[in-house]
Symmetry: C2
Subunit: 231 residues, 2 copies
DNA sequence: CTTGACAGGTGTACAGCGTCCACCTACTTT
DNA sequence: AAAGTAGGTGGACGCTGTACACCTGTCAAG
Protein backbone atom coordinates (compact mmCIF):
# COMPACT_ATOMS: atom_id res chain seq x y z
CA UNK A 1 0.00 0.00 0.00
CA UNK A 2 2.68 2.37 1.01
CA UNK A 3 4.74 1.23 -1.91
CA UNK A 4 1.88 1.82 -4.30
CA UNK A 5 1.38 5.30 -2.97
CA UNK A 6 5.01 6.08 -3.24
CA UNK A 7 5.06 4.73 -6.74
CA UNK A 8 2.06 6.85 -7.60
CA UNK A 9 3.85 9.88 -6.26
CA UNK A 10 6.89 9.06 -8.26
CA UNK A 11 4.79 8.40 -11.29
CA UNK A 12 2.93 11.66 -11.07
CA UNK A 13 6.01 13.56 -11.99
CA UNK A 14 7.80 10.93 -13.99
CA UNK A 15 5.12 9.44 -16.22
CA UNK A 16 4.01 12.59 -17.96
CA UNK A 17 7.12 14.67 -18.47
CA UNK A 18 5.19 17.83 -19.22
CA UNK A 19 6.30 18.83 -22.67
CA UNK A 20 5.58 22.11 -24.39
CA UNK A 21 2.91 20.34 -26.37
CA UNK A 22 1.17 19.10 -23.24
CA UNK A 23 1.16 22.64 -21.88
CA UNK A 24 -0.29 24.01 -25.10
CA UNK A 25 -2.93 21.30 -25.26
CA UNK A 26 -4.01 21.93 -21.71
CA UNK A 27 -4.18 25.65 -22.41
CA UNK A 28 -6.32 25.18 -25.50
CA UNK A 29 -8.62 22.79 -23.66
CA UNK A 30 -9.00 25.22 -20.81
CA UNK A 31 -9.78 28.10 -23.15
CA UNK A 32 -12.24 25.97 -25.09
CA UNK A 33 -14.29 25.21 -22.04
CA UNK A 34 -13.99 28.38 -20.02
CA UNK A 35 -13.19 31.14 -22.45
CA UNK A 36 -9.94 32.99 -22.64
CA UNK A 37 -10.53 34.76 -19.35
CA UNK A 38 -10.37 31.44 -17.55
CA UNK A 39 -6.88 30.99 -18.90
CA UNK A 40 -4.25 31.72 -16.31
CA UNK A 41 -0.86 30.18 -15.83
CA UNK A 42 -1.94 29.01 -12.40
CA UNK A 43 -5.01 27.23 -13.77
CA UNK A 44 -3.08 25.51 -16.51
CA UNK A 45 -0.52 24.36 -13.98
CA UNK A 46 -3.23 23.10 -11.67
CA UNK A 47 -4.84 21.21 -14.54
CA UNK A 48 -1.52 19.52 -15.17
CA UNK A 49 -0.95 18.77 -11.50
CA UNK A 50 2.09 20.95 -11.38
CA UNK A 51 3.27 24.17 -9.82
CA UNK A 52 2.78 27.34 -11.92
CA UNK A 53 6.46 28.06 -12.44
CA UNK A 54 6.98 24.64 -13.96
CA UNK A 55 5.27 25.88 -17.11
CA UNK A 56 8.00 28.44 -17.64
CA UNK A 57 10.46 25.68 -18.41
CA UNK A 58 8.51 24.98 -21.59
CA UNK A 59 7.07 28.34 -22.45
CA UNK A 60 8.83 31.67 -22.22
CA UNK A 61 5.85 33.60 -20.86
CA UNK A 62 2.13 33.90 -21.30
CA UNK A 63 2.30 35.76 -24.58
CA UNK A 64 4.56 33.17 -26.06
CA UNK A 65 2.12 30.55 -24.85
CA UNK A 66 -0.72 32.35 -26.61
CA UNK A 67 1.37 32.43 -29.77
CA UNK A 68 1.89 28.70 -29.46
CA UNK A 69 -1.83 28.13 -29.09
CA UNK A 70 -2.52 30.22 -32.18
CA UNK A 71 -0.01 28.23 -34.18
CA UNK A 72 -1.64 25.00 -33.10
CA UNK A 73 -5.05 26.22 -34.16
CA UNK A 74 -4.00 27.63 -37.50
CA UNK A 75 -2.51 24.23 -38.16
CA UNK A 76 -6.03 22.84 -37.96
CA UNK A 77 -7.08 24.74 -41.09
CA UNK A 78 -7.40 22.45 -44.10
CA UNK A 79 -4.60 22.73 -46.66
CA UNK A 80 -5.53 24.00 -50.13
CA UNK A 81 -7.72 21.43 -51.85
CA UNK A 82 -6.78 20.16 -55.29
CA UNK A 83 -7.00 22.09 -58.52
CA UNK A 84 -10.53 23.37 -58.59
CA UNK A 85 -9.73 26.93 -59.61
CA UNK A 86 -8.62 29.74 -57.33
CA UNK A 87 -12.12 30.85 -56.40
CA UNK A 88 -13.24 27.49 -55.10
CA UNK A 89 -9.97 26.78 -53.39
CA UNK A 90 -9.94 30.12 -51.58
CA UNK A 91 -13.58 29.70 -50.70
CA UNK A 92 -13.09 26.25 -49.17
CA UNK A 93 -10.02 27.35 -47.30
CA UNK A 94 -11.67 30.38 -45.79
CA UNK A 95 -14.67 28.31 -44.76
CA UNK A 96 -12.30 25.83 -43.16
CA UNK A 97 -10.68 28.66 -41.25
CA UNK A 98 -14.07 29.78 -40.14
CA UNK A 99 -14.96 26.31 -38.88
CA UNK A 100 -11.78 26.29 -36.84
CA UNK A 101 -12.71 29.64 -35.34
CA UNK A 102 -16.18 28.41 -34.50
CA UNK A 103 -14.65 25.41 -32.74
CA UNK A 104 -12.53 27.76 -30.65
CA UNK A 105 -14.59 30.90 -30.16
CA UNK A 106 -11.90 32.59 -28.10
CA UNK A 107 -9.33 32.18 -30.86
CA UNK A 108 -10.13 35.11 -33.10
CA UNK A 109 -9.88 37.49 -30.19
CA UNK A 110 -6.54 36.05 -29.16
CA UNK A 111 -5.17 36.07 -32.69
CA UNK A 112 -6.25 39.62 -33.21
CA UNK A 113 -4.86 40.93 -29.97
CA UNK A 114 -1.57 39.11 -30.38
CA UNK A 115 -1.33 40.29 -34.00
CA UNK A 116 -1.65 43.88 -32.95
CA UNK A 117 1.23 43.81 -30.53
CA UNK A 118 3.61 41.46 -32.25
CA UNK A 119 6.21 42.33 -34.83
CA UNK A 120 5.25 39.44 -37.07
CA UNK A 121 2.44 36.91 -37.19
CA UNK A 122 3.29 33.47 -35.87
CA UNK A 123 4.96 31.05 -38.30
CA UNK A 124 1.82 29.03 -38.89
CA UNK A 125 -0.14 32.17 -39.75
CA UNK A 126 2.65 33.21 -42.10
CA UNK A 127 2.48 29.81 -43.80
CA UNK A 128 -1.28 30.08 -44.09
CA UNK A 129 -1.10 33.51 -45.65
CA UNK A 130 1.74 32.51 -47.93
CA UNK A 131 -0.19 29.60 -49.30
CA UNK A 132 -3.26 31.80 -49.68
CA UNK A 133 -1.27 34.28 -51.71
CA UNK A 134 0.05 31.38 -53.74
CA UNK A 135 -3.48 30.34 -54.63
CA UNK A 136 -4.27 33.81 -55.95
CA UNK A 137 -1.03 33.96 -57.91
CA UNK A 138 -1.71 30.58 -59.49
CA UNK A 139 -5.16 31.86 -60.37
CA UNK A 140 -3.71 34.54 -62.58
CA UNK A 141 -3.62 37.49 -60.18
CA UNK A 142 -0.71 39.87 -60.62
CA UNK A 143 1.39 40.63 -57.56
CA UNK A 144 -0.24 44.00 -57.20
CA UNK A 145 -3.69 42.59 -57.55
CA UNK A 146 -2.98 39.92 -54.96
CA UNK A 147 -1.91 42.68 -52.64
CA UNK A 148 -5.25 44.38 -53.05
CA UNK A 149 -7.02 41.05 -52.79
CA UNK A 150 -5.39 40.25 -49.48
CA UNK A 151 -6.49 43.58 -48.10
CA UNK A 152 -10.00 43.12 -49.44
CA UNK A 153 -10.22 39.61 -48.07
CA UNK A 154 -8.68 40.68 -44.80
CA UNK A 155 -11.61 40.30 -42.54
CA UNK A 156 -12.65 37.05 -44.19
CA UNK A 157 -9.26 35.40 -44.43
CA UNK A 158 -9.21 34.44 -40.82
CA UNK A 159 -12.68 35.59 -40.02
CA UNK A 160 -11.66 39.00 -38.77
CA UNK A 161 -9.05 41.74 -38.63
CA UNK A 162 -8.23 43.26 -41.97
CA UNK A 163 -4.94 44.60 -40.77
CA UNK A 164 -2.90 41.46 -40.34
CA UNK A 165 0.17 43.23 -41.53
CA UNK A 166 0.19 46.47 -39.68
CA UNK A 167 3.62 47.44 -40.87
CA UNK A 168 2.71 51.08 -40.86
CA UNK A 169 3.50 51.40 -37.20
CA UNK A 170 6.88 52.05 -35.73
CA UNK A 171 7.58 48.76 -34.06
CA UNK A 172 11.08 47.85 -33.11
CA UNK A 173 12.42 45.19 -35.50
CA UNK A 174 11.88 41.68 -34.20
CA UNK A 175 15.20 40.48 -32.79
CA UNK A 176 14.66 36.86 -33.78
CA UNK A 177 13.20 37.54 -37.20
CA UNK A 178 14.17 35.21 -39.99
CA UNK A 179 17.09 36.21 -42.19
CA UNK A 180 15.83 37.38 -45.60
CA UNK A 181 16.93 34.38 -47.62
CA UNK A 182 15.32 31.94 -45.22
CA UNK A 183 12.22 34.08 -45.27
CA UNK A 184 12.17 33.89 -49.04
CA UNK A 185 12.60 30.13 -48.99
CA UNK A 186 9.86 29.43 -46.52
CA UNK A 187 7.35 32.04 -47.58
CA UNK A 188 8.09 32.74 -51.23
CA UNK A 189 4.79 34.38 -52.04
CA UNK A 190 4.79 36.69 -49.07
CA UNK A 191 8.32 37.70 -49.92
CA UNK A 192 7.47 38.36 -53.54
CA UNK A 193 4.55 40.49 -52.52
CA UNK A 194 6.43 42.36 -49.85
CA UNK A 195 9.30 43.18 -52.17
CA UNK A 196 7.00 44.35 -54.94
CA UNK A 197 5.10 46.61 -52.59
CA UNK A 198 8.21 47.98 -50.99
CA UNK A 199 9.73 48.65 -54.38
CA UNK A 200 7.03 50.38 -56.33
CA UNK A 201 6.35 52.83 -53.54
CA UNK A 202 9.94 53.60 -52.75
CA UNK A 203 9.30 57.30 -52.78
CA UNK A 204 6.44 57.20 -50.35
CA UNK A 205 7.38 57.91 -46.77
CA UNK A 206 6.86 55.13 -44.29
CA UNK A 207 5.09 51.88 -44.67
CA UNK A 208 5.47 50.99 -48.32
CA UNK A 209 1.75 50.25 -48.36
CA UNK A 210 -0.86 52.94 -48.49
CA UNK A 211 -3.31 51.66 -45.92
CA UNK A 212 -5.78 54.39 -46.60
CA UNK A 213 -5.82 53.54 -50.29
CA UNK A 214 -6.24 49.86 -49.57
CA UNK A 215 -9.08 50.54 -47.17
CA UNK A 216 -10.93 52.64 -49.72
CA UNK A 217 -10.23 50.10 -52.42
CA UNK A 218 -11.83 47.37 -50.34
CA UNK A 219 -14.66 49.64 -49.30
CA UNK A 220 -15.49 50.61 -52.85
CA UNK A 221 -15.32 47.05 -54.07
CA UNK A 222 -17.81 46.13 -51.40
CA UNK A 223 -20.09 49.04 -52.15
CA UNK A 224 -20.00 48.24 -55.86
CA UNK A 225 -20.91 44.66 -55.07
CA UNK A 226 -23.85 45.83 -53.01
CA UNK A 227 -24.97 48.22 -55.72
CA UNK A 228 -25.23 45.37 -58.16
CA UNK A 229 -27.71 43.70 -55.84
CA UNK A 230 -30.17 46.57 -56.10
CA UNK A 231 -33.22 45.94 -58.29
CA UNK B 1 1.61 81.18 1.89
CA UNK B 2 0.10 78.77 4.29
CA UNK B 3 -3.27 80.08 3.36
CA UNK B 4 -2.58 79.63 -0.30
CA UNK B 5 -1.45 76.11 0.24
CA UNK B 6 -4.46 75.29 2.33
CA UNK B 7 -6.62 76.85 -0.30
CA UNK B 8 -4.92 74.81 -2.96
CA UNK B 9 -5.53 71.70 -0.93
CA UNK B 10 -9.14 72.56 -0.50
CA UNK B 11 -9.37 73.44 -4.13
CA UNK B 12 -7.86 70.19 -5.27
CA UNK B 13 -10.85 68.30 -4.09
CA UNK B 14 -13.49 70.97 -4.32
CA UNK B 15 -12.89 72.76 -7.59
CA UNK B 16 -13.05 69.80 -9.92
CA UNK B 17 -15.88 67.71 -8.58
CA UNK B 18 -14.82 64.67 -10.58
CA UNK B 19 -17.78 63.98 -12.78
CA UNK B 20 -18.32 60.88 -14.88
CA UNK B 21 -17.27 62.88 -17.89
CA UNK B 22 -13.99 63.87 -16.30
CA UNK B 23 -13.29 60.25 -15.50
CA UNK B 24 -14.08 59.18 -19.06
CA UNK B 25 -11.94 61.95 -20.52
CA UNK B 26 -8.99 61.03 -18.35
CA UNK B 27 -9.40 57.39 -19.33
CA UNK B 28 -9.48 58.18 -23.04
CA UNK B 29 -6.45 60.44 -22.71
CA UNK B 30 -4.55 57.76 -20.85
CA UNK B 31 -5.41 55.13 -23.44
CA UNK B 32 -4.49 57.48 -26.27
CA UNK B 33 -1.02 58.03 -24.96
CA UNK B 34 -0.19 54.68 -23.42
CA UNK B 35 -2.35 52.12 -25.13
CA UNK B 36 -5.14 50.21 -23.52
CA UNK B 37 -2.76 48.18 -21.38
CA UNK B 38 -1.74 51.32 -19.56
CA UNK B 39 -5.33 51.84 -18.57
CA UNK B 40 -5.98 50.80 -14.99
CA UNK B 41 -8.40 52.20 -12.49
CA UNK B 42 -5.49 53.05 -10.26
CA UNK B 43 -3.73 55.00 -12.99
CA UNK B 44 -6.82 56.96 -13.92
CA UNK B 45 -7.35 57.81 -10.29
CA UNK B 46 -3.74 58.89 -9.94
CA UNK B 47 -4.07 61.09 -13.01
CA UNK B 48 -7.06 62.77 -11.42
CA UNK B 49 -5.32 63.16 -8.07
CA UNK B 50 -7.80 60.92 -6.36
CA UNK B 51 -7.95 57.54 -4.70
CA UNK B 52 -8.92 54.61 -6.96
CA UNK B 53 -12.22 53.86 -5.27
CA UNK B 54 -13.40 57.40 -5.88
CA UNK B 55 -13.94 56.49 -9.53
CA UNK B 56 -16.53 53.94 -8.57
CA UNK B 57 -18.86 56.69 -7.49
CA UNK B 58 -19.12 57.74 -11.13
CA UNK B 59 -18.60 54.49 -12.97
CA UNK B 60 -20.03 51.10 -12.02
CA UNK B 61 -16.88 49.15 -12.83
CA UNK B 62 -14.13 48.96 -15.39
CA UNK B 63 -16.25 47.37 -18.09
CA UNK B 64 -18.87 50.03 -17.73
CA UNK B 65 -16.09 52.58 -17.99
CA UNK B 66 -14.89 51.01 -21.22
CA UNK B 67 -18.44 51.17 -22.53
CA UNK B 68 -18.55 54.83 -21.68
CA UNK B 69 -15.31 55.44 -23.51
CA UNK B 70 -16.65 53.64 -26.58
CA UNK B 71 -19.78 55.73 -26.54
CA UNK B 72 -17.75 58.89 -26.38
CA UNK B 73 -15.64 57.84 -29.35
CA UNK B 74 -18.52 56.69 -31.51
CA UNK B 75 -20.01 60.09 -30.89
CA UNK B 76 -17.01 61.53 -32.71
CA UNK B 77 -18.08 59.93 -36.00
CA UNK B 78 -19.54 62.44 -38.42
CA UNK B 79 -23.33 62.31 -38.83
CA UNK B 80 -24.66 61.32 -42.25
CA UNK B 81 -23.87 64.06 -44.73
CA UNK B 82 -26.63 65.58 -46.82
CA UNK B 83 -28.42 63.93 -49.70
CA UNK B 84 -25.66 62.73 -51.96
CA UNK B 85 -27.01 59.24 -52.57
CA UNK B 86 -26.63 56.24 -50.29
CA UNK B 87 -23.31 55.13 -51.72
CA UNK B 88 -21.53 58.41 -51.11
CA UNK B 89 -23.12 58.91 -47.72
CA UNK B 90 -22.16 55.44 -46.52
CA UNK B 91 -18.70 55.88 -47.92
CA UNK B 92 -18.09 59.18 -46.15
CA UNK B 93 -19.49 57.88 -42.92
CA UNK B 94 -17.34 54.77 -42.92
CA UNK B 95 -14.27 56.82 -43.72
CA UNK B 96 -15.12 59.12 -40.83
CA UNK B 97 -15.40 56.10 -38.55
CA UNK B 98 -12.02 54.98 -39.76
CA UNK B 99 -10.49 58.35 -39.00
CA UNK B 100 -11.83 58.13 -35.48
CA UNK B 101 -10.28 54.70 -35.09
CA UNK B 102 -6.95 55.96 -36.37
CA UNK B 103 -7.06 58.75 -33.81
CA UNK B 104 -7.59 56.17 -31.07
CA UNK B 105 -5.74 53.05 -32.14
CA UNK B 106 -6.75 51.13 -29.04
CA UNK B 107 -10.43 51.73 -29.68
CA UNK B 108 -11.19 48.99 -32.17
CA UNK B 109 -9.77 46.37 -29.87
CA UNK B 110 -11.81 47.65 -26.96
CA UNK B 111 -15.00 47.90 -28.99
CA UNK B 112 -14.53 44.42 -30.33
CA UNK B 113 -13.78 42.83 -27.01
CA UNK B 114 -16.62 44.60 -25.26
CA UNK B 115 -18.96 43.69 -28.12
CA UNK B 116 -18.20 40.04 -27.73
CA UNK B 117 -19.09 39.86 -24.08
CA UNK B 118 -21.95 42.30 -23.85
CA UNK B 119 -25.62 41.62 -24.42
CA UNK B 120 -26.07 44.69 -26.57
CA UNK B 121 -23.81 47.29 -28.15
CA UNK B 122 -23.60 50.59 -26.33
CA UNK B 123 -26.31 53.16 -27.10
CA UNK B 124 -24.07 55.28 -29.29
CA UNK B 125 -23.09 52.27 -31.37
CA UNK B 126 -26.75 51.35 -31.69
CA UNK B 127 -27.54 54.85 -32.88
CA UNK B 128 -24.68 54.71 -35.37
CA UNK B 129 -25.84 51.40 -36.78
CA UNK B 130 -29.45 52.51 -36.82
CA UNK B 131 -28.64 55.57 -38.84
CA UNK B 132 -26.46 53.49 -41.15
CA UNK B 133 -29.33 51.10 -41.79
CA UNK B 134 -31.54 54.11 -42.39
CA UNK B 135 -29.19 55.30 -45.14
CA UNK B 136 -29.41 51.97 -46.92
CA UNK B 137 -33.19 51.87 -46.56
CA UNK B 138 -33.51 55.37 -47.97
CA UNK B 139 -31.29 54.26 -50.83
CA UNK B 140 -33.83 51.69 -51.94
CA UNK B 141 -32.55 48.60 -50.20
CA UNK B 142 -35.19 46.18 -48.97
CA UNK B 143 -35.07 45.15 -45.34
CA UNK B 144 -33.64 41.78 -46.25
CA UNK B 145 -31.05 43.31 -48.49
CA UNK B 146 -30.01 45.75 -45.80
CA UNK B 147 -29.55 42.82 -43.51
CA UNK B 148 -27.16 41.22 -45.95
CA UNK B 149 -25.51 44.56 -46.56
CA UNK B 150 -24.83 45.09 -42.88
CA UNK B 151 -23.19 41.69 -42.68
CA UNK B 152 -21.16 42.34 -45.79
CA UNK B 153 -20.08 45.73 -44.56
CA UNK B 154 -19.43 44.38 -41.09
CA UNK B 155 -15.71 44.62 -41.03
CA UNK B 156 -15.75 48.04 -42.69
CA UNK B 157 -18.56 49.63 -40.74
CA UNK B 158 -16.45 50.24 -37.74
CA UNK B 159 -13.23 49.14 -39.28
CA UNK B 160 -13.38 45.61 -37.94
CA UNK B 161 -15.42 42.79 -36.46
CA UNK B 162 -18.11 41.54 -38.77
CA UNK B 163 -20.11 40.02 -35.96
CA UNK B 164 -21.39 43.10 -34.19
CA UNK B 165 -24.63 41.37 -33.41
CA UNK B 166 -23.65 37.98 -32.16
CA UNK B 167 -27.15 37.11 -31.03
CA UNK B 168 -26.58 33.49 -31.88
CA UNK B 169 -24.99 32.82 -28.54
CA UNK B 170 -26.85 31.96 -25.38
CA UNK B 171 -26.34 35.11 -23.43
CA UNK B 172 -28.56 35.89 -20.51
CA UNK B 173 -30.98 38.70 -21.42
CA UNK B 174 -29.70 42.12 -20.48
CA UNK B 175 -31.46 43.17 -17.27
CA UNK B 176 -31.51 46.85 -18.14
CA UNK B 177 -32.40 46.46 -21.80
CA UNK B 178 -34.77 48.97 -23.28
CA UNK B 179 -38.47 48.10 -23.36
CA UNK B 180 -39.52 47.21 -26.93
CA UNK B 181 -41.55 50.31 -27.68
CA UNK B 182 -38.76 52.61 -26.54
CA UNK B 183 -36.35 50.55 -28.57
CA UNK B 184 -38.56 50.99 -31.60
CA UNK B 185 -38.77 54.72 -31.04
CA UNK B 186 -35.07 55.30 -30.64
CA UNK B 187 -33.76 52.82 -33.18
CA UNK B 188 -36.55 52.39 -35.72
CA UNK B 189 -34.41 50.89 -38.44
CA UNK B 190 -32.69 48.36 -36.22
CA UNK B 191 -36.07 47.35 -34.87
CA UNK B 192 -37.56 46.97 -38.33
CA UNK B 193 -34.64 44.84 -39.41
CA UNK B 194 -34.60 42.73 -36.28
CA UNK B 195 -38.30 42.02 -36.50
CA UNK B 196 -38.14 41.10 -40.15
CA UNK B 197 -35.26 38.75 -39.57
CA UNK B 198 -36.84 37.17 -36.51
CA UNK B 199 -40.11 36.71 -38.34
CA UNK B 200 -39.14 35.16 -41.61
CA UNK B 201 -36.98 32.56 -39.94
CA UNK B 202 -39.44 31.65 -37.25
CA UNK B 203 -39.07 27.98 -37.94
CA UNK B 204 -35.32 27.95 -37.67
CA UNK B 205 -33.99 27.01 -34.27
CA UNK B 206 -32.06 29.65 -32.41
CA UNK B 207 -30.68 32.87 -33.65
CA UNK B 208 -33.14 34.07 -36.27
CA UNK B 209 -30.14 34.86 -38.47
CA UNK B 210 -28.19 32.24 -40.31
CA UNK B 211 -24.68 33.39 -39.62
CA UNK B 212 -23.16 30.76 -41.83
CA UNK B 213 -25.30 31.88 -44.75
CA UNK B 214 -24.43 35.51 -44.13
CA UNK B 215 -20.76 34.71 -43.98
CA UNK B 216 -20.84 32.86 -47.26
CA UNK B 217 -22.93 35.58 -48.82
CA UNK B 218 -20.35 38.19 -47.91
CA UNK B 219 -17.49 35.92 -48.92
CA UNK B 220 -18.98 35.24 -52.34
CA UNK B 221 -19.75 38.87 -52.93
CA UNK B 222 -16.13 39.66 -52.20
CA UNK B 223 -14.80 36.88 -54.39
CA UNK B 224 -17.08 37.94 -57.24
CA UNK B 225 -15.80 41.46 -56.88
CA UNK B 226 -12.23 40.23 -57.08
CA UNK B 227 -13.00 38.08 -60.09
CA UNK B 228 -14.19 41.10 -61.99
CA UNK B 229 -10.78 42.66 -61.49
CA UNK B 230 -9.01 39.89 -63.36
CA UNK B 231 -7.91 40.73 -66.89
C1' DC C 1 32.64 4.58 -10.27
C1' DT C 2 32.67 9.05 -9.21
C1' DT C 3 31.73 13.85 -10.41
C1' DG C 4 29.80 17.61 -12.32
C1' DA C 5 26.66 19.71 -15.48
C1' DC C 6 22.15 20.35 -16.59
C1' DA C 7 17.11 19.85 -17.56
C1' DG C 8 13.11 20.29 -15.15
C1' DG C 9 9.93 20.72 -11.10
C1' DT C 10 9.34 23.50 -6.45
C1' DG C 11 8.57 27.36 -3.10
C1' DT C 12 8.64 31.86 -1.93
C1' DA C 13 7.98 36.52 -2.95
C1' DC C 14 6.61 40.82 -5.25
C1' DA C 15 4.16 44.28 -7.62
C1' DG C 16 0.05 45.24 -9.83
C1' DC C 17 -4.74 44.50 -10.78
C1' DG C 18 -10.21 45.14 -9.90
C1' DT C 19 -13.23 45.87 -6.40
C1' DC C 20 -15.78 44.95 -1.68
C1' DC C 21 -16.44 47.17 2.66
C1' DA C 22 -16.54 50.33 6.40
C1' DC C 23 -15.79 54.91 7.22
C1' DC C 24 -15.75 60.00 7.27
C1' DT C 25 -17.22 64.48 5.87
C1' DA C 26 -19.71 68.20 3.74
C1' DC C 27 -23.97 69.70 2.05
C1' DT C 28 -29.06 69.52 1.29
C1' DT C 29 -33.65 68.95 2.80
C1' DT C 30 -37.20 68.90 6.11
C1' DA D 1 -31.46 71.35 14.63
C1' DA D 2 -31.87 66.60 12.53
C1' DA D 3 -31.55 63.42 9.22
C1' DG D 4 -30.21 61.92 4.90
C1' DT D 5 -27.17 61.60 1.11
C1' DA D 6 -23.43 62.24 -2.46
C1' DG D 7 -18.82 61.68 -2.86
C1' DG D 8 -13.91 60.98 -1.43
C1' DT D 9 -10.84 57.78 1.77
C1' DG D 10 -8.19 53.79 3.52
C1' DG D 11 -7.61 49.20 3.99
C1' DA D 12 -8.11 44.65 2.65
C1' DC D 13 -8.80 40.43 -0.27
C1' DG D 14 -8.02 37.39 -3.87
C1' DC D 15 -6.35 37.17 -8.19
C1' DT D 16 -2.75 37.81 -11.85
C1' DG D 17 2.20 37.11 -14.26
C1' DT D 18 6.70 36.06 -13.23
C1' DA D 19 11.68 36.83 -11.01
C1' DC D 20 14.78 34.28 -8.13
C1' DA D 21 16.78 30.74 -5.49
C1' DC D 22 16.56 26.07 -4.68
C1' DC D 23 16.36 21.01 -5.02
C1' DT D 24 16.49 16.56 -7.50
C1' DG D 25 17.08 13.02 -10.89
C1' DT D 26 19.56 11.77 -15.26
C1' DC D 27 23.41 11.40 -17.96
C1' DA D 28 28.27 12.22 -19.87
C1' DA D 29 33.10 12.67 -19.12
C1' DG D 30 37.18 11.80 -16.42
Amino acid sequence: MVEITRQADTVRQARTPLSRERVLDAAVALADEGGVDALSMRRIAQELGVVPMALYKHVANKNELLDGMIDALVGEIDPPAGDAGWKTVVRLRVLSARRMLLRHPWASRVIEVRMRERAAPTPAVMAYLDSMIGIFRAGGFSVGLVHHAMHVMGSRLLGFSQELFDDSSDREPDPDALPPQEMAARFPHITELAMAVAHDEESVVGSGCDDQFEFEFALDLTLDGLERLLP
